[in-house]
């Protein structure tokens, strides 16, 4: 629920209750006051009649008016005084209406009379109704105005908040940007902006430090690795030593090489993650695929693989090195995990690149294969377990959809280019 909706509900709800209570109170008070007034009129009528009877010792001549009637009727006993409101038939106006009726007894020449004075409450009621109508109208109008003003004012007040949110959601952590949120004249928003600014600055600093660390760690690691490599190479010049330690030295050499490649892959992943590749080069995918196949020709012949190439010229705005890595890793896997005399099918059209290959491996776990360092248990540790993670990372940063399927005994990897 939006804050405004919630606030309006609360505000309107309480206003309506207050108005209802207030209006009812007002209504009853007014009703009471008006009724009192009618009572006074009735009482003064009584006094007049009583006074007349006292002085003249006979009942007065009555002229009934439209809203006041007086009736006399003889009674057996002295009549008790009562004052009531009731509905009665108004003959003059030919309708039922509320009247206030005062009944009292009077004695004329030893005879008991019951005097009934009726006074129409019609005026009072129409007056009350009018007031109720005006009140309701004014309440409605005032609520509507509040609602509109709130909406306008609140929208305006919250503007800096939405601006900040906009900036925050468009913000990308890249180690060199800062989030400069606009200054507002609302303390709370400034507080929020300052907190977010401080947080972002802190995160940027950490990110910068991490990046520097990764770069430094890579540099610091590559140099010792180079030392290991060149010293190993010096060792293998000693043929007498080789006779005894040949395989040991060979495994040192290979391990150093592997560590170095792993290091390079991790660096590449970090670099892709931090979006440091600008996708602004024209990449001809079909050419790259063909180039890669040419480079790998020896390995394809070695495994006696049959290649089916179905490509059409496709070019897009991308990054050449990343495209090469993407193709290289997928095609490399298709060869590496293939079996002798297996098949590789490469399909490329303007919408997607599909690489399918046969393999000794069963269907792979789609949820795991793109994880870092995941290796199918049945494969040897010749890959570093990062190839598909790198492909996935490249696809993610560029909005390409990477998918894996196992169909017709083929492992199928597809990269779907975003729709044009």
């Amino acid at each position: 629920m939006k804050m405004f909706t919630r606030y309006s509900r609360l505000n309107l709800g309480s206003s309506i209750i207050i108005f209802l209570v207030g209006c009812s109170a007002f209504y009853f008070v007014l009703d009471h006051v008006l009724t009192q007034e009618i009572n006074q009129v009735l009482n003064s009528e009584k006094e007049e009649i009583t006074h007349f009877v006292k002085t003249h010792n006979s009942l007065p001549e009555i002229t009934n008016t439209r809203d006041q009637q007086v009736y006399f009727s003889q009674a057996e006993l002295p009549v008790e005084q009562k004052l009531v409101s009731k509905k009665a038939w108004n003959q003059r106006q030919a309708k039922l209406e509320w009247i206030r009726e005062l009944v009292f007894g009077i004695e004329v020449n030893g005879l008991h009379y019951k005097v009934t004075v009726d006074k129409s409450q019609d005026q009072k009621n129409s007056f009350l109704n009018l007031i109720a109508l005006i009140a309701t109208g004014m309440i409605g109008l005032s609520l509507l105005t509040t609602l509109i003003i709130n909406r306008i004012v609140l929208n305006k007040l919250w503007q800096p908040f939405y601006q900040s949110i906009d900036q925050i959601s468009n913000y990308q952590l890249n180690g060199n940007g800062q989030l400069n949120l606009p200054k507002t004249n609302i303390t709370e928003f400034n507080l929020l902006n300052n907190c977010v600014d401080a947080m972002v600055t802190h995160v940027e600093q950490d990110f910068q430090a991490l990046k520097q660390f990764t770069g430094n760690a890579a540099h610091e690691m590559q140099t010792p690795l180079a030392v290991i490599a060149v010293n190993t190479e010096s060792l293998i010049q000693d043929e007498a030593l080789l006779e005894v330690h040949g395989s040991t030295i060979s495994s040192i050499e290979n391990a150093a090489k592997k560590l170095s490649r792993l290091n390079q892959s991790l660096l590449l992943l970090t670099k892709i993650e931090s979006d440091r590749f600008a996708l602004n080069e024209k990449v001809e995918w079909d050419v790259l695929v063909q180039q890669r196949l040419d480079e790998l020709q020896d390995l394809i012949v070695l495994k006696d693989l049959s290649i089916e190439l179905k490509t059409v010229p496709v070019s897009s705005t991308f990054h050449n090195q990343l495209a090469e890595i993407l193709i290289s890793n997928l095609v490399g896997n298709a060869i590496r995990y293939n079996k002798e005399r297996g098949r590789i099918v490469l399909q490329l059209d303007s919408s997607e690149l599909i690489i399918s290959n046969t393999s000794g491996l069963p269907a792979l776990d789609k949820t795991k294969i793109f994880d870092r360092f995941y290796r199918h248990p049945e494969t040897r540790e010749d890959g570093n377990g990062l190839g598909l993670s790198i492909v996935k990372q490249i696809c993610e940063m560029s909005g390409y959809a990477l998918d894996y399927q196992y169909a017709n005994s083929m492992h199928v990897f597809s990269v779907r280019f975003p729709g044009k």
């Binding site: 690795l225 010096s234 040949g246 060979s250 490649r261 390995l299 490399g332």
Partner: protein, 225 residues
């Protein structure tokens, strides 16, 4: 042929020097930026092997100074940073090649040889080894003046062997020279063995000597039989 090695890691520096001296080059080495500047200002080198991260300054700055002084020394950058930007910056500043650490010394040797050949095109562009003659610009090989037909990979391998003659070359060094990182994909080094076997057979059939020795499962050595 005079080379300057600019590398701050002592062990790496020494190994490179030892290897290149063994290849018949005249080598001088320094381990910081200032010494490198002094050396390059005073002397001419056929090729400078230059590390980027140096105490006292960046190798790239040295490269800029060389260019400003219109020096024609060949430069090969050796760096721990395999960053494309660095590579491009280095090449744009006039470096001839870029090699990422760690590398195989024979690979460095092959790259240096290529740079020196390019720098001195008017000079000797033929490489001899016993009865084998390689015409590098034409990419042809002859044995006892009889042309020898080789595949491009076999040609590369022979050239690599001859540049690194009398030296044990590990299989991974040869494989990496020929196929780059893809060798990683091959199931094992038998693959390399096939290529070496073919080359040896061709040389022998053409009347050449048996120069390729297999060394204890480590690799091969190209030397006089």
């Amino acid at each position: 042929m005079k080379l300057l090695i600019v590398e701050d890691e002592p062990s790496l520096n020494k190994n490179i020097v030892d290897y290149l001296v063994g290849r018949g080059y005249l080598c001088e080495s320094v381990n910081n930026f200032q010494d490198a500047v002094e050396k390059t200002e005073c002397y001419e080198y056929d090729c400078i092997i230059l590390d980027i991260m140096l105490p006292g300054g960046s190798g790239l700055r040295l490269l800029q100074q060389l260019k400003a002084n219109r020096k024609s020394d060949g430069v090969i950058i050796i760096s721990a940073r395999n960053e494309l930007d660095d590579k491009i910056a280095g090449i744009e500043l006039g470096a001839d090649d870029y090699l990422t650490k760690p590398f195989h010394l024979p690979e460095l040797g092959a790259r240096i040889a290529a740079i020196i050949r390019r720098k001195s095109l008017q000079g000797n562009n033929q490489l001899f080894f016993e009865d084998i003659l390689i015409d590098i610009p034409a990419k042809t090989v002859s044995i006892n003046n009889q042309p020898l037909q080789l595949t491009p990979k076999e040609y590369d391998m022979l050239l690599y062997f001859i540049i690194n003659k009398n030296r044990v070359l590990s299989k991974s060094s040869i494989a990496e020279h020929l196929w780059g990182d893809d060798m990683d994909l091959a199931d094992n080094h038998d693959f390399l063995y096939t290529h070496v076997k073919n080359l040896r057979k061709k040389v022998l059939l053409a009347g050449g000597g048996d120069y390729i020795q297999s060394i204890y499962g480590i690799g091969y050595k190209f030397s006089q039989a």
